[in-house]
C-alpha cells in the first residue's frame, strides 16, 4: 500500500515537473556526452526550426541550425570554427568539472527560415546523472532582440554624448562671444565716460589759447597756439569717435539720394585734407537717380570714414588715386566701391580690421571701421575689404535699396 502511494506521489511530482518543463519560456535540452540531444522540451522557441521529436539523437549544433555545423560535411564539432564555439566549450567543461555555468552569452550565425541570421543566445549548463548516465542540462534563450536594442541604446547614448559635447562646445563659444561683447560694452561705457569728461578740460585749453592769441599778438606765439588748436581738434575727433561708437542707435530712415551723399562726403573730406593732391575718379552715373531708405547721418558717417581712410592711406604716394564706383544689382542692392592706391593692409591684419580698438594708424582710435560695419549691419548691408600691401585697398559696401525690417 505504501509503495503504491509512493508511486502515485512520484507520478504526480513527475507530471508537475513535466508541466513546468514544457511551459518554461526557455529551450531546454538534455545533452549526451557525445553532444547529441537526448531530450528536449516542446516550448516553441525562435532558436528551433525543426520539430522537437525530430531532434533526438542529433548533435546540438545541428539542432540549432548552426551555420558552422551545417557547412562541414561531418556536422557539428568538425568545422575549424567549432573549436572556438563557446557553447560547445562550456558543455564539455561541464561534463569535465561537473560544475554549473550560468548565464553565458554567445553570438551564433544560424540558418533561420532559409536565411543566415545572427543570433545572441543566453545559456546555462548543469551537470546531472540521468538513468546513471552523465548528462548536461542545457537551457537556451534567444536574446537577439534585447541585444539589438542594447546596441541601439549604446549608439544613441554615444550620439547623445556627442551631441551634448558638441552643444557644450557651442555654448562655450557663445559664452566667449558674450564675455567679449560684455567686456567691449564695459570698455565702451568706460571710454565714453572718460571721453565725455575730457571735453571740459579741452574746452578750457581751447578758450585759453584764444585768450593768449588775443592778448599777445606775436608771430612766435602764434605758431605754438596753432599747434595747441590743432591738437585740441584732433583730441576732440578721437572723443567724437569713441562716443559715436558707444552710442550707435537704430537708423532713422528717410529717402536719400546716395550719389549726392557721396558727393557731400567727398567735399567734407577734401576740406579736411586740403592740400592733398589725390586724384578722384567718380563712376557713379549709373545710380544718378537712385534713392534708398536709410539714415542720412549714419550713411554720411560711413562714406566720410571710408573716403578719409583712402585719403590717409594714399598720403605720401607719388600719384594718389581714389576711384569711387557705384552700381545697382539685379537683386535690388546698391553697391559702392572705394578703390585707392595707398599703403594697403597686410594680409595678416585684414581679419582684425573691423575689431574695435584695432588700428594700424599712429593716430587712430581703432573705431572707424568698427562703426562703419555696425552702421552697415543696422541697415542690413555688408562691407568687405580686399587689400594688397603697398598696392592699395578696395572697400565694397552693399546696401539694400529697401532695407525691409532693420536689424
Amino acid at each position: 500500500m505504501i509503495t503504491k502511494k509512493k508511486n502515485k506521489g512520484i507520478h504526480k511530482q513527475a507530471k508537475l515537473l513535466n508541466t513546468i518543463l514544457e511551459n518554461i519560456p526557455l529551450l531546454i535540452m538534455l545533452i549526451n556526452e557525445d553532444l547529441t540531444v537526448q531530450q528536449i522540451n516542446k516550448f516553441p522557441s525562435s532558436l528551433l526550426q525543426k520539430k522537437p521529436v525530430k531532434v533526438i539523437g542529433i548533435p546540438t549544433g545541428e539542432v540549432l541550425n548552426c551555420l558552422n555545423a551545417l557547412s562541414d560535411p561531418n556536422g557539428c564539432g568538425f568545422s575549424k570554427l567549432c573549436r572556438k564555439c563557446k557553447l560547445r566549450k562550456t558543455i564539455l567543461e561541464t561534463f569535465k568539472t561537473k560544475k554549473d555555468h550560468n548565464n553565458k552569452e554567445s553570438e551564433f550565425t544560424l540558418l533561420n527560415a532559409g536565411k543566415k541570421n545572427s543570433f545572441y543566445i543566453l545559456f546555462s549548463t548543469t551537470f546531472i546523472n540521468f538513468l546513471t548516465r552523465p548528462m548536461v542540462l542545457l537551457s537556451l534563450q534567444d536574446i537577439t532582440k534585447r541585444k539589438k536594442a542594447e546596441t541601439i541604446l549604446k549608439q544613441s547614448k554615444k550620439e547623445i554624448e556627442d551631441l551634448v559635447s558638441f552643444k557644450s562646445k557651442e555654448l562655450l563659444e557663445t559664452q566667449k562671444v558674450l564675455d567679449k561683447s560684455k567686456r567691449l560694452s564695459e570698455l565702451g561705457t568706460l571710454a565714453s565716460t572718460v571721453a565725455h569728461e575730457l571735453r571740459n578740460p579741452l574746452c578750457v585749453i581751447q578758450t585759453a589759447s584764444y585768450n593768449i592769441r588775443r592778448k599777445c599778438r606775436t608771430n612766435d606765439l602764434t605758431k605754438h597756439l596753432d599747434n595747441i588748436d590743432i591738437k585740441v581738434t584732433e583730441s576732440n575727433e578721437i572723443i567724437e569717435n569713441i562716443l559715436s561708437y558707444a552710442k550707435i542707435k537704430s537708423p532713422r530712415l528717410q529717402v536719400i539720394n546716395l550719389n549726392s551723399l557721396i558727393e557731400e562726403s567727398l567735399i567734407f573730406a577734401e576740406n579736411r585734407f586740403s592740400g592733398n593732391a589725390i586724384s578722384i575718379t567718380k563712376k557713379i552715373e549709373s545710380t544718378k537717380d537712385l534713392s534708398i531708405s536709410a539714415d542720412k547721418l549714419q550713411l554720411g558717417e560711413i562714406f566720410s570714414n571710408l573716403i578719409e581712410n583712402a585719403f590717409q592711406a594714399t598720403s605720401g604716394k607719388k600719384q594718389p588715386k581714389l576711384t569711387i564706383t557705384t552700381a545697382r544689382t539685379n537683386d535690388s542692392r546698391f553697391i559702392a566701391t572705394f578703390k585707392d592706391n595707398g599703403c594697403g593692409i597686410d594680409c595678416k591684419n585684414i581679419e582684425q580690421i573691423f575689431e574695435p580698438f584695432f588700428s594700424l594708424k599712429s593716430k587712430g582710435t581703432g573705431l572707424g571701421l568698427t562703426i562703419c560695419r555696425e552702421l552697415i549691419n543696422l541697415h542690413n548691408g555688408d562691407i568687405s575689404i580686399s587689400s594688397i600691401k603697398n598696392k592699395g585697398t578696395i572697400v565694397t559696401v552693399s546696401l539694400p535699396i529697401s532695407p525691409g525690417r532693420l536689424s
Binding site: 565714453s192 565725455h196 569728461e197 571735453r199 571740459n200 579741452l202 574746452c203 578750457v204 585749453i205 581751447q206 578758450t207 585759453a208 584764444y210 585768450n211 588775443r214 592778448k215 585740441v232 576732440n236 567724437e240 562716443l243 559715436s244 552710442k247
Partner: protein
C-alpha cells in the same frame, strides 16, 4: 559788440575764468555764477541780455534753470545759449526749453562770439 551784458552759469570755475576773459576781450560785461540757484536769485537784478548756460551742473541742472527762466515773465525773453559736453549736444538739445542754440564742448570761442551776436540780433528784431 556794445558792452553786451552776459550771465555765465557753469560749475567749472577755471572754464568760467577763461571764458569771462574771452568775452571781456570782445567787449562783453560778464557776470559768472557757479550754480543755478545763485544765478536764478540774481538774474532779475543783473538783467543780462544773453545767458550762457552749462547743462550738466551739480544741484540744479541747466535744463531746470532754463525751465525756471522761461516760466518767469521778467526773464523768459532772454536768449539762452547752452554749452554742453554731451555727445552731439548741438543736434540733440536744439529747441528744447526755448534754448536759442547749444554749443558742444570744446568749441571755437570765435564761433561763440558769432552766436552771441546772432542771438542779440534776433532778440532785438523780435522786440521791434
Amino acid at each position: 559788440m556794445d558792452k553786451v551784458k552776459i550771465m555765465l552759469i557753469d560749475d567749472n570755475r577755471v572754464f568760467c575764468d577763461e571764458l569771462k576773459e574771452t568775452l571781456s576781450l570782445n567787449g562783453c560785461e560778464v557776470f559768472t555764477f557757479f550754480n543755478g540757484k545763485e544765478a536764478l536769485r540774481s538774474v532779475e537784478k543783473v538783467k543780462p541780455e544773453i545767458i550762457l548756460l552749462d547743462l550738466k551742473m551739480d544741484g540744479l541742472s541747466g535744463f531746470q534753470v532754463a525751465d525756471k527762466l522761461k516760466k518767469n515773465e521778467k526773464t523768459k525773453t532772454i536768449p539762452i545759449i547752452a554749452i554742453s559736453g554731451f555727445y552731439r549736444a548741438h543736434e540733440t538739445f536744439f529747441n528744447i526749453h526755448n534754448i536759442y542754440c547749444c554749443l558742444t564742448k570744446p568749441f571755437n570761442p570765435a564761433v561763440l562770439i558769432d552766436t552771441i551776436k546772432g542771438a542779440i540780433k534776433q532778440s532785438s528784431e523780435s522786440v521791434d
